[in-house]
Subunit: 248 residues, 2 copies
DNA sequence: TTCGACATTTGATCTCGATCAAATACAGTC
DNA sequence: GACTGTATTTGATCGAGATCAAATGTCGAA
């Protein structure tokens, strides 16, 4: 995820404590003012629904804090998560009035929202904005394709290991931790949400977590806090090749 | 897929027989000339590899004819298709030197290629080009998310029915056929490639095809030609809600 | 027309993850 | 601290799809 850390460093930019540099890396100050004019913050509690599939959504947003998920549901209740949004990720589609997926706060979430219609206008008059959104969308497409490999071909154990390593990696980049052999982080999802992410049942998720713990690949402090004593060992369980499948 | 038919009508535009209007809906003639200057055509035979994962690719392209696939492979040989490109679809990433997936010609394919580096320059100086690419990429992301639901939660039978209806729909839009109750089309993929698309084995694909035929949902003429006597009946097998899950 | 190389179908069996069921842990709240 | 509701773990069993194996098209080349 080459642009992820870039987006984060931009977010840390002193000129822009309100982190919408995530969507606007190269904005001049007058453009930032225009963004400021159409922006507002919203906070959601863990478990709260941000928007239902089919709802009109009159804003797009940048995730500032917390984790949100996009989920599809079939009539009979089968659910599949199709997007997991972490800080600096973008939510919404400028061109589209209504959402296609249920958007839910997995943890407490803070969004930096931009009113949709004027934001769309801003895109049209600010070339690098659409270029930035294109980059972010392409990264998201790459992530979706990794995810498709996971859903279509990986075993339950590989799915869990892959999920843990994805979260660990993003968490480490949020904290700017690098090259540590040991990693520790909190799971942002319940076992049920993990199951929806991975195309499994929550029982299978629980069993495989227990198995990884039994085999010493992970340690659990409480239900949500994970310690990975040896990152390499976890990577070996993912089924991915050593370099994580990332080509430069 | 709201932009699909738009792209196609643009492709048919008399001013632009060389169908790159697929990537450039609103280009003025001087911009078209710049595109012309960096474009060339390449033809690939069915089964031929267009690029291996990790290869440098010095062009991006628009699919003019035929079908190409993007596939990920694990070390032990498990394969998952992660992209299926039909006429008017875009191939490649302007910003990235090398491909992340194996790109293969599923049928005979004709590409309209643009040299990558100058194309990237063109994007930067032509705002609506990146807006157009953003739209196309967002549509592709939507398709990837539908696909994730299929991979994670659908039964083998639902997967096959969904795949057939996806191909039927795109084929119908290519031929500008509308509202027919009966549909007929050729499968662009082998059973093995279908299995890679659907996260199944080729045996399961074959069995479910036979089952759908036995149950009168489809008819087969030869191995590749499909007749759908009742489109509604096929839709009922997909597990999707009646409107195809598309929110307007 | 026959041969050979594939693609596809069909059959028999096995296995991983789903399903059904129950026990346990845990965080609030009174 | 006891109680309640929810999240998680663990157990027992089942079944859809994988795997292994063989038969059956099918199409082009000789």
């Amino acid at each position: 995820m080459p642009n992820r850390s870039l987006a984060l460093s931009e977010m840390a930019c002193a000129d822009c404590p309100i982190r919408h540099r995530a969507v606007c890396a190269r904005c001049e100050s007058d453009e930032l003012e225009k963004l400021d004019a159409i922006k507002y913050y919203r906070r959601f509690e863990a478990g709260q629904t941000i928007a239902w599939a089919g709802d009109k959504m009159d804003f797009v947003a940048s995730v500032v804090e917390g984790v949100a998920s996009l989920t599809q549901t079939m009539e009979d209740g089968r659910r599949q998560m199709v997007g997991l949004l972490l800080p600096s990720d973008f939510l919404g589609r400028p061109n589209r009035e209504s959402v296609s997926y249920d958007v839910t706060a997995a943890t407490d979430v803070m969004l930096c929202c931009f009113r949709r219609v004027p934001f769309q206008g801003l895109i049209e008059e600010t070339p690098h904005l659409s270029q930035r959104l294109l980059e972010m969308t392409l990264d998201e497409l790459d992530a979706a394709r990794e995810w498709m490999l996971l859903l279509g071909r990986k075993t339950a154990r590989e799915k869990i290991a892959s999920f843990l390593s994805i979260i660990a990696r993003r968490d480490a980049s949020l904290k700017n931790a690098k090259n540590a052999t040991e990693l520790a982080f909190d799971l942002p999802l319940t076992r049920e949400a993990m199951a929806d992410y991975l195309g499994l049942t929550l029982e299978t998720v629980s069993r495989q977590m227990s198995a990884l713990k039994r085999d010493g690949v992970i340690e659990l402090k409480g239900k949500r806090h994970i310690i990975v004593p040896d990152v390499e060992a976890l990577m070996d369980e993912t089924g991915d090749d050593a370099d994580g499948g990332v080509y430069i």
